[in-house]
């Protein structure tokens, strides 16, 4: 045991050295026309060595350390919690949710513009994560190209507004439906694949969409993106200082209040909030419907599900399409919020982040996913000062999560349909 640990610890320490020294130690210095490779400074060398020693010691006493950590109850207060009764849990959940929603409705009027803006982004991510949760968490299909549907939604709105002058409210359902259509069309050939293969193909699809958007310059403007995407209006009232479109009035003049750029931000936030709530409610309902049960049945045991007359393609396609639909929703809101979109916004990293949210939150669990979306979106913003190390902190948080709560923040507790005793 000890010998094994020692060997392992030595190996880990060496890996640390080999990786850390070149990355942190070497510097490229320009001198005239040449570039010179400089060795590390003494301070860096000492730090790297210290890190290697730390890794060595940790790996050597790993079992003891982990045992200690496991014992510390403060670190994991939820570990030995008794599961609540279903009826009680549902009641508590609905009370908490109502409180949160009511709070979220009034909250933007008391905070800064930046906070509201960030909150809108959080809501967009909540919509995305809830949609992906259907695909990954409920139907068990690993989709790494989810951002493609988000892009479809956003570009639908951007293009329709640019070429045909569509408004936000008209483009919102269209964007979602078009994204759903893309999901359907992509799903057909892809869904006979399983597991890793499905992941790879969806990853490829995500990249195809992005590269298409990048290269169809005449239509999409390529890397320059599309700007001037209109803001949503409220019953024909615009939120700008001056009315851009004929027939519209402006919000501040109609209500007879002073113009403030905050109105628009808050309005967008409220739209996003309403859409996110709708998304959550619809998916919550779907989970309790035959479709939802079919998703889970197919995930649990595909062969048994097929033997009972569930069509694999139809069930998987429905999950894929519904997931894509909500991504389209989110995309439209995103385009409207930014006013400008380019393929840059839809890189693979976005897919990875959304997937990370779903996994962190606990696959299939709605509240867990919402909490994770808040955490994952706001933490990097809060940690802006360490911007260089943001990804590092992000990664460390992920590793810690996987060690302490591999099942996610709030793992899914299925709400069962109960058969009531009959007299």
């Amino acid at each position: 045991m000890a010998a094994h640990n020692l060997k392992h610890a030595l190996f880990c320490a060496i890996v640390t050295l080999v990786i850390a020294y070149p990355i942190l130690g070497f510097n490229l210095v320009a001198s005239g026309t040449d570039i010179i490779l400089e060795g590390a400074k003494t301070r860096t060398v000492i730090l790297v060595l210290l890190a290697a020693v730390a890794v060595f010691l940790f790996q050597l006493f790993r079992d003891n350390v982990m045992a200690l950590l496991g014992k510390a109850p403060a670190l994991n207060p939820l570990a030995n919690r008794q599961p609540m009764e279903q009826g009680k849990r549902l009641k508590l959940e609905s009370i908490v949710l109502t409180l949160i929603i009511v709070g979220a409705l009034f909250w933007p009027f008391f905070v800064s513009r930046g906070a509201v803006d960030l909150a809108t982004l959080v809501l967009i991510y909540i919509m995305l994560a809830l949609g992906l949760n259907v695909v990954v968490g409920l139907a068990g299909l690993l989709d790494l190209g989810y951002v493609a549907f988000y892009a479809v939604g956003a570009y639908t709105f951007a293009l329709l507004s640019q070429y045909y002058g569509f408004s936000f409210w008209l483009a919102l359902p269209l964007g979602a439906l078009l994204a759903a259509l893309f999901g359907l069309v992509l799903g057909f050939p892809v869904l006979r694949l399983r597991g890793d293969y499905l992941a790879i193909v969806t990853l490829g699809f995500g990249e195809i969409i992005r590269i298409l958007l990048n290269n169809m310059t005449s239509l999409t403007g390529g890397p320059n993106g599309i700007g001037g995407i209109p803001d949503p209006t409220l019953f024909g009232m615009e939120f700008g200082r001056r009315v851009k479109e004929e027939g519209n009035t402006s919000f501040h003049e109609t209500l007879g209040i002073a113009y403030s750029s905050e109105h628009k931000v808050i309005f967008l936030y409220l739209i996003a909030l309403v859409l996110a709530v709708i998304t959550a409610l619809v998916i919550r309902r779907l989970m309790r419907m035959p479709v939802g049960r079919a998703w889970e049945a197919l995930r649990e045991d595909e062969i048994a599900a097929r033997s009972l007359g569930l069509s694999r393609t139809a069930v998987k396609l429905s999950a894929f399409t519904i997931g894509a639909f909500f991504a389209g929703f989110a995309g439209t809101v995103f385009a409207s919020k930014q006013g400008f979109i380019s393929p840059e916004s839809f890189v693979f990293l976005e897919s990875a982040i959304i997937l990370a949210i779903v996994v962190l939150g606990g696959m299939g669990s709605q509240i867990g996913v919402i909490l994770a979306a808040i955490a994952v979106t706001t933490l990097p913003e809060l940690a802006r000062e360490f911007s260089e190390y943001r990804m590092l902190i992000f990664g460390a948080a992920m590793v810690l999560m996987m060690v302490w709560r591999p099942q996610g923040l709030l793992p899914m507790r299925r709400t069962h349909i109960e058969l009531k005793a009959q007299e």
Partner: protein, 251 residues
Amino acid sequence: MLDVQNLSMRFGGLLAVDQVSLDVQEHEIVSIIGPNGAGKTTVFNCMSGFYKPTGGKILFEGKEIQGTPDYKISRLGMVRTFQHVRLFNSMTVVENLLVAQHRHLNNNLISGLLKTPNYRTREKKSLDRASYWLERVGLLELANVEAGNLAYGQQRRLEIARCMVTEPKLLMLDEPAAGLNPSETRDLNQLIVSLKEDYNVSVVLIEHDMSLVMDISDRINVINQGRPLASGTPDEIRNNDDVIKAYLGEA
């Protein structure tokens, strides 16, 4: 109602099923027996659409169904169980039965989202049907337990109940008595007979438990190394020299 003619299934160089024929009439229990590896389950997989047979015909109610996708076959009214129990383990017992009634429920998304009265009545009906069958197999008090937590014998019964809520015409049971104790096997025996008598379901049965097979079968087909060896009533099979040599003699 079911007529299998010269069914063959080849996996590369291996001819797993060779020219097997069998037929099932309405209101009949037909067994398929044979030593391990004889190809019984392969025949089942062909009949239920999991495999596309490489030769022969399968007629169900006069229509050729070989090569039809599995889920369509089960919708025609031929439903099977599995050698190893396949339940949806993290779903409750009653939910297992609800999944099976997928196609009886209204599939319309909108009416489900809005909980229209029509949707509610259908959901109520399928819950009623589920509780009827749970009562029938003696699992009613376990309705809200996760299926994975049931005892093995209970899981077996749940699997049969799950088939029955789809209201099949033909039930295919793959070794339903495997792993059951003698008293559970007796209950199963009664259950299968009652399916035939009370619900007018025909049954095709693969089973190694000879007492069960001889007791309830109307006819028996023996398969050995993929080839049909004999078929007839239990008495004929019991006295068939080839069968005794190939199969019963070993036991």
